[in-house]
């Protein structure tokens, strides 16, 4: 086999509290279509972000066409011919197709002073036609379908001579037919000698498109398979195997009566979701990124519009139009995005903790200092939140302590159902264990808990039952006893 277009050796990337990449090796040949798979958080995105020039503080060696290269900015990446086609597309909806394709790279006339719109349209038309795409260069971008936009992005990548295209879940919003068109384009790219990195959680696509696959696990290499060695079982075997529970065992408990009942729930994305959760039960939501874990919690908590279906809490039907209604009905949500939705960075620990229970802390609208301090002190000691002073800004706490504060904020309202969306995201291992203990204890105290996590092992570790989601629907409902990651992955990765 010939030389590599790109070679990466001993790649290390740290984030506060975690080692995202640990001595990772990676390579790809010219014209090769290569799969990159792993569980959420295995390091796939970190690796391709380095290639795209998103980070400047990584360690390791990168060789492009045999020569050492340093990729510190997106401009560096583009100069080397490396282009990413992102999940959230990076096109400009207000410009037409031709302008988008040549953005920052426009043909010019009049000594470079004016854009040459004619040449641009001509050239864009030629490129689009060469892929057999029936899109007019003059169409405003926002008239195109998601699939067409993706095609435009690929064509744009070629317009600046891309030699390596990174596709991150490119088919997540495509129809079957559009996937076929994409397949044609990928074959075309291959014929032109362009290398492709395909990140996907659909293992069928690896089988269909790729010649080789890299498997990552916990920020490390977990194997490279050649086409001849491909099988779904071998993929899954490589992806699993993280050990979170070394020092933690879930309590065996009796599940009480059904508290929350969801019947045939759906919105634009979710389809016919039904499940029940009892008091003292932890229901785990498993599924790849975008499978609908966060959406289910949002629908229950009044964050999205529900188009059909029913939610019953304690036998009473609820349909919260806003989180404040969900809160009064007895629901609480620890959101996935702690910084954006969980805490108010500039406010004190005390005010953040009181946000949802102001009614209890105040009389005649005035926050009573004593009552407030009491609520805060109770929360701090119950969840062992490490603070120096109630008045310090919450932004100055570690991620783990901030997360405990978000949970404490809700416990102060005395809810009945806890929705925990990836509650240990970006938290160091020690605090993770502590939070597992807290979640388990809360279930023993009789809360009904719905738990989602980007780490499958965590869901299996804590849950009594597991709901496996795939593209907005429930794929399976399983008893967590004896359930293995392999079994779940086989369902969540079609």
């Amino acid at each position: 086999m010939g030389g590599y277009f790109l070679e990466m050796k001993s790649m290390v990337k740290r984030f506060p509290g975690t080692l995202a990449l640990d001595q990772v090796a990676f390579n790809i040949r010219p014209g090769e279509t290569l799969g990159l798979i792993g569980e959420n958080g295995a390091g796939k995105s970190t690796l391709v972000n380095i290639l795209g020039g998103a980070f400047s503080d990584y360690e390791g060696e990168i060789l492009v066409e045999g020569k050492p290269a340093r990729i510190l900015t997106p401009t560096d990446a583009r100069a080397l011919g490396i282009v990413g086609i992102r999940q959230e597309l990076s096109l400009f909806p207000n410009l037409n197709v031709a302008r988008n394709i040549f953005l920052g790279n426009e043909p010019r006339k009049a000594c470079g002073l004016l854009l040459d719109h004619d040449a641009m349209a001509r050239e864009a038309g030629r490129l689009l036609a060469s892929f057999g795409l029936d899109i007019s260069p003059e169409t405003p971008l926002d008239r195109l379908t998601v699939a067409q936009k993706q095609m435009v992005e690929i064509v744009r990548a070629l317009s600046y001579n891309a030699k390596l295209i990174i596709m991150d879940e490119p088919t997540s919003s495509l129809t079957e037919k559009e996937v076929d068109i994409l397949a044609g384009i990928m074959a075309d790219l291959k014929a032109r000698g362009v290398a492709i990195i395909l990140i996907t959680h659909k293992l069928n696509e690896i089988l269909r498109f790729c010649e080789r696959v890299f498997i990552f696990r916990d920020g490390r290499n977990a194997g490279v398979l050649e086409k001849g060695e491909f099988s779904r079982d071998r993929f899954i075997e490589g992806m699993v195997g993280r050990d979170l529970g070394a020092a933690f065992r879930r309590t065996r408990r009796e599940v009480g009566e059904v508290l929350l009942e969801v019947e045939n729930l759906g919105d634009g994305f979710l389809k016919n979701i039904s499940f029940k959760v009892g008091t003292g039960e932890i229901l785990g939501l498993a599924g790849a990124v975008g499978a609908g874990r966060t959406e289910i919690m949002g629908a229950l908590f009044g964050l999205g519009k529900i188009s059909y279906g029913r939610i019953r809490l304690g036998g009473k039907e609820i349909s919260p139009p806003h989180p404040s209604f969900a809160m009064r009905a007895g629901l609480a949500l620890v959101p996935e995005e702690r910084k954006a939705h969980g805490v108010i960075q500039g406010m004190s620990v005390r005010d953040n903790l009181l946000l949802s229970s102001l009614g209890n802390a105040a009389r005649w609208g005035f926050v009573r200092g004593g009552a407030a301090s009491g609520i805060v002190a109770d929360a701090v000691s119950a969840l062992n939140i490490r603070i120096a002073d109630q008045h310090q800004a919450i932004g100055s706490l570690s991620g783990g302590n901030q997360q405990k504060a978000v949970l404490a904020k809700w416990l102060a309202v005395k809810p009945r159902v806890l929705l925990l969306d990836d509650p240990t995201r970006g938290i160091d291992v020690g605090t993770k264990r502590e939070i597992y203990g807290i979640i388990d204890r809360l279930a023993n105290e009789g809360y009904a808990i719905i738990l989602s996590s980007s780490e499958l092992a965590e869901v299996l570790l804590l849950s009594d039952r597991v709901l496996v989601l795939y593209e907005g629907s429930v794929k399976a409902e399983l008893d967590a006893d004896g359930l293995t990651e392999e079994q779940v992955l086989a369902l969540s990765h079609a």
Binding site: P323, V343, S356, F366
Partner: protein, 334 residues
């Protein structure tokens, strides 16, 4: 001593502007004998009271992450409303005043509606209202100045309580205190700062952020209306051209008071002091016979100075926190 220190820490945002005020008082006292007299200080307070009252309302709106550019037009509309009801329609003073305040509140409600329901940015929505409401004031009054002689009305602007403190000063100081307490001590205040600091997180915490924002616009409108009444009462007349350009003074006071335009940061006390600082500069320069042109220039200079000091302080603080955290981590790992 300890009390002062803890107060300063909790109100770090206003310490700066209070020091600026003290420095200016000292400076002008040294430069002129006629500055630091009780009658002159009271004159300063009287002169800033209307702007100060408007700035308190503006402070709420900016703390929730919005802005109201239309306050100066509401100022005129409310004066004209009260003046016409009293002088032309013969309505009683209390009813007329209430009607004028309600007009202000209504404008605020429209602002809130525009911002919350049409998706217009607060800047654009209230910029449009600035012009519309001024036009409404013109149309209502037909462009004429309306004289109001009723003693019970003019007393709002002219009566001196105990022969010493004018009513507008009392209104301004009392409102500043009420706002400071509301913002810092009530659950509404916590919700207000939360909504401004991170609207998404506030909504995720079960706060009805829409209503909080709406209320801020309404209160701002009512206070702009009150300021218009105070001014019309002081002058004994209401004009549709009154208060032209006052939104700049109001926003200046808010900026000087340390309110962040990103929302979530600021205090009524700071804004009140900010308004007074502006009055001190105007008055001091006047006493020293500096021309009005230079007054405007100097006020601009002070804004930039105070704001950049604030920014530097924040940057310095952030740096300090970072080094402290690094040190702690290093010690932790060692």
């Amino acid at each position: 001593m300890n009390g002062i220190r803890s107060w300063m820490r909790k109100n770090a945002d206003v310490v700066g502007i209070i020091l600026v005020m003290a420095a200016l008082l000292l400076l002008f006292s040294l430069l002129s004998d006629s500055f630091f007299t009780s009658s002159n200080l009271m004159r300063i307070m009287l002169n800033v009271s209307a702007i100060g009252v408007m700035a308190l309302g503006e402070c709420l709106v900016i703390v929730i992450g919005g802005i109201d550019l239309g306050v100066s037009s509401v100022f005129a509309l409310s004066g004209v409303t009260a003046g016409m009801l009293i002088s032309r329609a013969g309505v009683g003073v209390p009813e007329a005043v209430l009607a004028a305040l309600a007009a202000g509140g209504l404008v605020g409600a429209v602002n809130g509606f525009l911002v919350l329901k049409t998706g217009l940015t607060p800047f654009i929505a209230t910029f449009g209202m600035l012009s519309m409401i001024r036009g409404l004031a013109y149309a209502l009054s037909g462009g004429y100045t309306i004289s109001v002689y009723k003693r019970s009305f003019t007393a709002i602007g002219m009566y001196n309580v105990g022969d010493a403190v004018p009513v507008p000063v009392i209104i301004f100081v009392a409102l500043a205190m009420v706002f400071q307490i509301t913002m810092k001590k009530t659950s509404y205040g916590v919700r207000l700062y939360a909504t401004g600091g991170n609207p998404a997180a506030a909504a995720y915490s079960g706060i009805r952020t829409g209503w909080i924002k709406f209320s801020a616009y309404v209160v701002c409108g009512v206070l702009a209306g009150l300021a218009g009444i105070m001014s019309a009462a002081k002058l004994g007349m209401a004009a549709s051209t009154a208060g032209m350009g006052y939104e700049m003074d109001v926003i200046t006071a808010v900026i000087l008071g340390g309110v962040s335009f990103n929302g979530g940061v600021g205090s009524a006390l700071g804004v009140a002091v900010g308004a007074v600082v502006m009055g001190i500069i105007r008055n001091g320069l006047l006493i020293m016979n500096v021309s009005a042109y230079y007054q405007t220039l100097i006020i601009g200079l002070v804004i930039l100075l105070v704001v950049s000091l604030d920014a530097m302080k924040e940057k310095g603080l952030a740096k300090l926190l970072l080094t402290l955290r690094r040190r702690r981590r290093r010690e932790g790992s060692a």
